[in-house]
Symmetry: C2
Subunit: 246 residues, 2 copies
Amino acid sequence: MTGDKIGVLGGMGPAATADFFSKLVQLTPASCDQEHLPVVVTSLPHIPDRSSFLLGQGPDPLPALLERIALLNRMQAGLIVVPCNTSHHWFDAMARESAAPLLHIAEACLQSLAGRNVKRIAIFATRGTLKSAFYQRALEVKAFECVIPNDYAQLKIDTCVRSVKAGDVSAGAQALQEAIKSTQAQGADAMIMACTEIPLAAVLIKHDAKHSTEPMPLLIDSTLELARQAVAYGIQRHWHLVSARA
Amino acid sequence: MTGDKIGVLGGMGPAATADFFSKLVQLTPASCDQEHLPVVVTSLPHIPDRSSFLLGQGPDPLPALLERIALLNRMQAGLIVVPCNTSHHWFDAMARESAAPLLHIAEACLQSLAGRNVKRIAIFATRGTLKSAFYQRALEVKAFECVIPNDYAQLKIDTCVRSVKAGDVSAGAQALQEAIKSTQAQGADAMIMACTEIPLAAVLIKHDAKHSTEPMPLLIDSTLELARQAVAYGIQRHWHLVSARA
């Protein structure tokens, strides 16, 4: 049987998963419960740290990722999305083991850059994502210039991600603000928030920016862009229609 | 095998499910991903309208509810929560068919009233929930006095719920504000937001209340109280501990 639900491989971290699910619901054009898309979410967060492994420390997260891919397939997912950028290092391995196709979070971000007047794009990500380099490759294919945050900015990005994971969003926002300033000074026109914890901190910055005179750079939200693509995929296949589901 | 995950029977509606999941994550004492509780969420919203059926219109939602209970049990849920008040009309039927125990949302709200200096409690709910009368029974057992919203207030509550389900939270908030005023005039000390759409509208009211001199009544958030009980249940059983999950 072909799957007909959006499967969300979550838990990396749980707050980012909740943010993804909220965005997916908000982006769905529905006037009542029964017009929404069917979604199953696994937020089973006991997955070894992705970035640590890529930096040579701790166990490989791939077996835990593949277990969850299998679980979502058993739940009849017709599409799987992973609202965690670092785990996209294992995208091909996950896609190979899954009957349901996967959407790639970096491709979703790249689609949102199309037609925008930006050239130099900073990647705000974990050190593991940067080492894996799939964002750099995706940007270069589309002839964008990558701006890799300098040491100071990367330390601030690390703090932002860790603070959000520990539930301290306001410490995360403060660190993010510093990273943005520093990367603007490096000449970036836009930043991809290529770690799904970062948009949670950015909410506070955007709120403050309303009362500020300094212009905010373009911040691409990888969580939002992945949700947008997932909604479009499900709607196109009519997974929201009651008649198709009776 | 005994389940070791929190199973969330969601989709009624999807925005309320997302709100529940966010609250559950925020209430969990965790400093990194791996200290969070394992959660699986089904947001499969093609369930016949609960309130309509209780008012004599449309198909019975029970078969769809039981299908999802079975699915969550297959996913090794060790506890099931249903962040939809109206569906608690079928609580006993769901609990009977489930290996995993269920927490009752009205009991969670009642626990949060213990020790508070309130007596006359208004029930802000769908007409189906009021007709089912499980909140009235739970309040009376604890010697609280029930305030059933008058016709005007109930119309506003209906509008609030419908608006939030259609994604128009600000229309929902406006209607809720009217319902609160009217029910305060009926002598209520506190209100139970006994429909999980209502807390989403209440967020906007609370924000406005910061700039107002009128006192806000005590608003019990059924979504939050259910999340609080679910987190306590999982933590007590150590479902968050990595060592127990290796």
